[in-house]
Symmetry: C2
Subunit: 440 residues, 2 copies
């Protein structure tokens, strides 16, 4: 790729002169999952791409040490390149050496997103830069990010309430910020949480993060939701914690009320076994999380819904490619979320607005995050976000908030810089170990 | 989709104020295929999209009557929309009523591109508008079309020599323009044609349009090419004219010299039968020509290479989606061509420059077209086209040439306005009928 040595005013606007990386720690409530509990603080990385014309684009991705180690050399290679050169980011990512020793070929503790590979890690880092480049490009030319993706096909994007079993607060001695949500550890607690989500944000569909309690307790929680909100789409996601027979048992018990069952079991082969008999669509953000995993899963009909996630699929444009593949194969498309802030929520909304076959309401942890780095928080209305036509992502970075959350990261002794839900659980239960599969 | 009632200077540049459609007839040599011979003149449609800011973008697609009938209402609906609103073109295409009675569910006489469907027809029309919008957008913001597709990943795009059996001239009484290529009706003629292609344009790979003579004669032609150009990639494309046994016979005879065998037989099922035993990759632009045909073909492993064509896949962005699907399924990607001019060649080159897995040199009929509507013809060098960084497509419409070719269309009595290779053949051979399948 050759770049002209002298810049016109137009290309100045689009040429990267500086990249700033700011790791932060954001408060996270004690949300439970099959591997443990969310830490009091979760690491995120905020990326600012500044052009020679003075435009700044922002992006957000995972902030654990292993992501930072890739993001730094990636950032160093961006200066002098154009923000429009998005296909080139993939070759750049290949050039960035992966510290392979840190990438364990095992279930990722923090992400619950299937097997962790060097490729996935690299694409998660790339996505933060891709979003920042799109934001800068959009701001430079006065176009929203959705226009740079071919334009919105809807004016609002629907989100789903993301319900969690949770404690009222983090264990004593763990630190963290307080909130007024209270505990949710049984069907009544889950229903109360859902009611608050429905009242506050207008969400019309509900997903419960499962794999926390024995299946019958979680079945009871879903049944309670179905009684309280008859006819509403419901989802249950135990993060692959169940055996094939247990998965089929739960599917039988809940087939009449589930919109889809998400990752009941681990691995494409077992998912295919369940799918063949479940009578309810299976969704995944664990056995199909990269393009390389699609062929096997789709030819085996192992999944009926793929949960996209621009972070680990390699950006907004890759998310659109995933959508095209799903369209061609008649596989449904929904959207996954992990702990994230307003930048990523804006990015999720822009890409979701452009995808005709986003068949389901998107997941988002956003209501659980009281802290943010954007000047104005995004607001759900009737369970939806309006798609902004403002330039770029349409969000503004609050440098004061960013600095405060970065200070927290700087002052951390290292305990929170890498998300580890099992370690967080051990603060409450010293004997806790990562459950072996299948947990039930 | 809502559009702001008042336009800023920036949105003026991108808002469509006028669309001009100009059907033309371009000279075409007497190239032979299994259905007949190219007419002396082929219809094409030139599309100009003019923005309120005075920028004009150009596109090109098929110009037969049935395409024009869709293009006119499509054009009428574009005024007031943004050239960036490319995803919206698909909903627009759905709104345009298809005159279903004109769309026969049979092999398309002119295109040799598989079963003709209303969907394919609509996407072929859409693609001309998509390219024109991208050209206008690029010109308005000073970016090449490849940048609007995420940026080039290569600086040159390789093309293949497209060899045809042909007569020296059109039959007496048929009209048409003369050229100095002479006849090519046997191995020696094919080799002489290939030598001229190699000398003039530097092409390093060769494709022979087959299905014209009995298979042994075409095998002999490929053998002669292999002897004259040892080690060079060779392709043979009989447009589905052969039975499964004949296809396997040819594959056996030529497996050591063919880069791929294109559409030896008709239909995904038969292609899968051949693919299982051929020992040479099968390519197609007939059994996989829409997204809806991918699933069956890929799960049956019926094809190893898909020939993209932005015209009938629905534009440059859809072509990139096809490429993403091929990447995910480990299927190769090449590029198909039909009779086309410089606008389409520029569009093909821009999209090819952005696709990392364009594994094969692209097809192009361009060297056979002596007439054009662009001010400066595109020039192959070492078999490649340089990827331009000029705004938009980087081509300029020559209004004088456009008017002259349009005049030819106006003055035509209707005989040439719809491409019909069988009808053209009947001028020379009154008994000629469309061959029934399999021809051999």
């Amino acid at each position: 790729m050759t770049h002209a040595p002298s810049l016109t005013p137009q290309t100045r606007q689009l040429t990267i002169s500086e990249v700033r990386l700011t790791p932060i720690l954001v408060a996270d409530p004690p949300l439970l999952n099959t591997q443990g509990v969310h830490q009091p603080y979760t690491p995120r990385l905020i990326i600012e791409v500044v052009t020679a014309g003075g435009v700044t684009g922002v992006g957000e991705t995972y902030g654990d040490t292993k992501y930072l180690e890739l993001a730094r050399p990636f950032a160093d290679m961006l200066a002098g390149r154009r923000v429009t050169d998005l296909n080139g980011l993939f070759a750049l990512a290949d050039e960035v050496a992966v510290n392979a020793s840190r990438v364990e070929n095992s279930v990722d503790v923090g992400g619950l997103r299937g097997v962790q590979t060097a490729d996935k890690l690299r694409l998660s880092v790339l996505s933060g830069f891709e979003v920042a480049c799109l934001d800068a490009w959009g701001k430079a030319v006065g176009l929203p990010v959705h226009a740079l993706l071919g334009g919105k096909v809807r004016d609002r994007v629907e989100y789903s309430a993301y319900l969690f079993y949770r404690w009222a607060g983090h264990p004593q001695g763990a630190g963290g910020e307080a909130d007024d949500w209270g505990a949710a550890l049984d069907p009544a607690g889950v229903v109360a949480q859902a009611e608050r989500f429905a009242d506050t944000f207008g969400f019309a569909s509900f997903k419960l993060k499962g794999g926390v309690f024995p299946p019958d307790q979680e079945i009871a929680a879903i049944r309670a939701l179905a009684e309280r909100f008859p006819g509403r789409p419901l989802r249950l996601d135990p993060n692959g914690a169940w055996s094939v027979p247990t998965s089929l048992y739960v599917a039988r018990e809940l087939h009449d009320v589930l919109e889809y069952l998400e990752d009941p079991t681990s691995g494409t082969g077992r998912m295919a076994e369940v799918a063949a008999k479940a009578g309810v669509p299976l969704a995944t953000n664990m056995c199909v999380t990269t393009f390389g995993e699609i062929r096997e899963a789709f030819t085996q009909d192992a999944v009926q819904v793929v949960l996209s996630d621009h972070h680990y699929w390699g950006g907004l444009r890759s998310t659109r490619e995933l959508a095209a593949i799903c369209r061609a194969f008649g596989v449904g498309l929904s959207m996954h979320s992990n702990t994230h802030l307003g930048i990523s929520l804006a990015a999720m909304t822009h890409v979701a607005a452009t995808v005709p076959n986003l068949d389901y309401a998107c997941d988002s942890h956003y209501p659980w995050q009281a802290e943010d780095v954007v000047a104005e928080r995004l607001s759900f209305r009737d369970g939806c976000l309006d798609v902004t036509d403002a330039p770029g992502l349409g969000v503004e970075l609050d440098q004061g908030r960013l600095a405060a959350l970065h200070r927290r990261w700087l002052e951390d002794d290292g305990a929170m810089r890498d998300r580890d839900d099992a370690a967080a659980m051990r603060v409450a239960d010293a004997d806790w170990a990562l459950p072996s599969f299948p947990r039930w």
